[in-house]
């Protein structure tokens, strides 16, 4: 399989954005044009959704498209997807500073990924 997997229409709502995130996305689009998100992992600003102009970040063969928020595609690395696939990503915006090269850093807000279990998912470990 040589093409990025697209799960936009697989029957699961895998990603959504809060009104605060949608407002910030519109603000950034007005300045930078079409945008995309790539969910980061690892340390420092890891776990943050990174926002870039379309074309700036090269989407790879193993990335997975989770869906779109405010017209922007949202991707995650394939291996990371395997470990996150039972959860829905909820992109929010909070006051903050900096996240790699993500476009929103200078605005004083940053995107943040909150998460919920996908519909129908049982907790991994019953309490």
């Amino acid at each position: 399989m040589d093409e990025t997997r697209d799960l936009s229409n697989d029957g699961q709502r895998r990603v959504e954005a809060t009104p605060a995130a949608e407002a910030l996305i519109e603000e950034l689009k007005a300045v930078h044009g079409p945008l995309l998100f790539h969910q980061s992992g690892g340390c420092c600003d890891g776990s943050a959704p990174m926002c870039y102009p379309v074309g700036d970040f090269k989407i790879g063969r193993y990335d997975v498209k989770l869906g779109e928020v405010a017209g922007c595609p949202v991707y995650i690395g394939g291996q990371q997807f395997e470990r996150w696939k039972h959860t829905r990503l909820i992109i929010d915006a909070v006051p903050g500073r900096g996240a790699g090269f993500s476009l929103e850093a200078p605005t004083g807000q940053r995107f943040l990924t909150r998460s919920a279990l996908l519909d129908g998912e049982e907790p991994a470990c019953p309490t």
Binding site: H38, Q39, S40, G41, G42, C43, C44, D45, G46, S47, A48, M50, Y52, D56, F57, K58, G60, G77, Q79, Q80, R83, W84, T87, V94, P95, G96, R97, G98, A99, G100, F101, S102, L103, A105, P106, R110, L112, T113, R114, S115, A116, L117, P123, A124, C125, P126, T127
Partner: protein, 506 residues
């Protein structure tokens, strides 16, 4: 008795109200004249202004670095070592001041900056001062007439992007080997924690020829990107996370330059049954090793954020581990009795809270902690999280993604193979810990864990003479150790014939 807060009477640290960039040995205002407020996570209040630089400032710093690089690259190793030692001496003479600044800028407890960040930073400069003098090239006699000489040459001008968790120490990790090897540097501090590295430039700038060290502040997208994507750097070094790591490699590929990347981990800390065999100093050391997840508020790339405990001791060990964790004293980070301080930023706080939320939703059990800490007074404006222990299983998100907070996720294992299977079931491979009284067990596990460093019967030691870096998605290359010099050097081979006769082909 707490250290006086910076910018108050009697404090060791008096910040300027506004800083400039350090370029070519001078303090230069950002080209566009824009600044941003630098906030202390201790109270959430701003305390100085930092340049919001752009590509014009990066270009100016690159001009300065290129102007200096030929002369600097030809200085003798002894001269460069002398400068690095002088940097270390001056920093040591101002250790307390820099510890206070680092605590104020980052939020970490002063006992850590006094006893870890600063001493390690100082030693790092001394280590590479020694390493560069001891480094040798190579000479190979290929046959009676032919010799291959291998020289180590500096790369030239390098770009370095520094993280916010150990702002000065991580800068030293990158600067010391780069400068020792004869490179000029353009360095971008993290926008969350730029202050102490600017005090560093004020303190030691005069020891280096102008242009050898250049510091340009600003946001990643506005200053980091023009640096990382510039065709005037010979290498880029970055510590951060995976998506930005990919982007930096992508930019580097456009210019065909090397990268070193350190991108984090989800380090397993593995405790075998025999840890509990006796109630002695070793058991106490192992419990301290468990509690190391709270060091630096968990904002360490090698945070032991997964603890794997052998099933037959699980309840007994965890009961002691919870007790040890509950004894962590939170409070004013400038108070030397405080054991854990503030998270570095509001967004970091929010991210940690979002993980506490998904951990619960996935059914992980909270043994202690699990929420924001309210410490009273103006500390309520700061970013504090209770040390938190989750018990769950390795497929949960809190076991799979670096939270970068004082949060450990604990699971039991049955035997050595099970410990390895769980321990290696992660995207990352930066660090690991193994605890056992049996040397054979510790050795076997240490060799089989897919991680760049396996602390064995210890954790969170960072000596300059031990290589640090990741397997798998944790990064590329190593830091620390003499070998780091090679990440900042080009190899020049002179292939010399001492044979007066032609080869005979033509």
């Amino acid at each position: 008795m707490a250290y006086a807060r910076p910018n108050t009477d009697g404090s060791l640290v008096q910040y300027k109200s506004r800083y400039a960039n350090y370029i070519g040995g001078e303090w230069i205002a950002p080209a566009k004249g824009n600044y941003f407020e630098n906030i202390t996570p201790v109270t959430g209040q701003p305390f100085c202004e930092i340049p919001r630089s752009t590509h014009e400032d990066i270009d100016r710093a690159l001009d300065a670095a290129h102007g200096a690089r030929r002369a600097w690259g030809k200085t003798s190793p002894a001269d460069r070592a002398g400068i690095l030692n002088a940097i270390a001496d001056r920093l040591e003479a101002h250790l307390e001041k820099f510890a206070v600044s680092e605590t104020w800028d980052n939020g970490k407890a002063i006992r850590e900056t006094l006893n870890a960040d600063l001493p390690l930073t100082i030693d790092h400069f001394r280590y590479f001062a020694g390493a560069i003098r001891a480094q040798e090239g190579g000479l190979s006699q290929l046959d009676d007439n032919t010799v291959a000489y291998h020289f180590n040459e500096p790369l030239g001008v390098v770009g370095q992007i520094i993280p916010w968790n150990f702002p000065l120490l991580m800068a030293a990790w990158k600067l010391a080997p780069a400068l020792a090897a004869g490179n000029c540097v353009v360095l971008k501090p993290a926008e969350q924690t730029p202050a102490t590295i600017l005090l560093f430039a004020e303190l030691v700038g005069d020891l280096l020829p102008p242009g050898v060290l250049n510091i340009v502040n600003g946001f990643g997208v506005e200053a980091g990107k023009p640096l990382a994507s510039s065709n005037r750097i010979a290498k880029v070094a970055f510590t951060g996370e995976t998506t930005t790591g990919r982007l930096i490699m992508q930019y580097a590929s456009e210019n065909l330059i090397p990268v070193t990347l350190e991108l984090g981990g989800k380090s397993p800390n593995i405790f075998f049954s025999d840890v509990m065999a006796r109630d002695d100093a070793f058991r106490s050391k192992a419990l301290e090793g468990f509690t190391m997840f709270a060091l630096n508020q968990g904002e360490v790339c090698t945070c032991p954020s997964r603890a794997l405990v052998q099933a037959d001791i699980f309840d007994a060990f965890m009961s002691l581990a919870v007790e040890r964790t509950k004894a962590i004293k939170m409070g004013d980070p400038l108070d030397p009795s405080t054991m854990m301080g503030a998270q570095a930023s509001n967004d970091q706080l929010e991210k940690i809270l979002s993980y506490l939320d998904i951990g619960r939703k996935e059914g992980a059990e909270v043994l202690t902690g699990g929420k924001r800490a309210e410490l009273g007074g103006d500390l309520d404006g700061g970013y504090y999280v209770e040390p938190t222990i989750f018990v769950g299983q390795n497929k949960m998100r809190v076991f799979q993604e670096e939270i970068f907070g004082p949060v450990v996720s604990v699971a039991p294992f049955d035997d050595l193979d099970d410990a390895l299977s769980i321990g290696n079931d992660t995207l990352y491979g930066l660090g690991a810990g193994v605890w056992s009284r049996d040397g054979n067990t510790a050795y076997r596990v240490g060799r089989a864990i897919e991680a760049g460093r396996v602390w064995t019967n210890c954790y969170h030691l960072y000596p300059a003479h031990a290589a640090f870096g990741g397997y798998k998605q944790s990064g590329i290359g190593r830091e620390n150790h003499r070998m780091m010099l090679r990440h900042y050097q080009q190899t020049k081979n002179l292939l010399v014939s001492y044979d007066p006769e032609p080869m005979g082909f033509f």
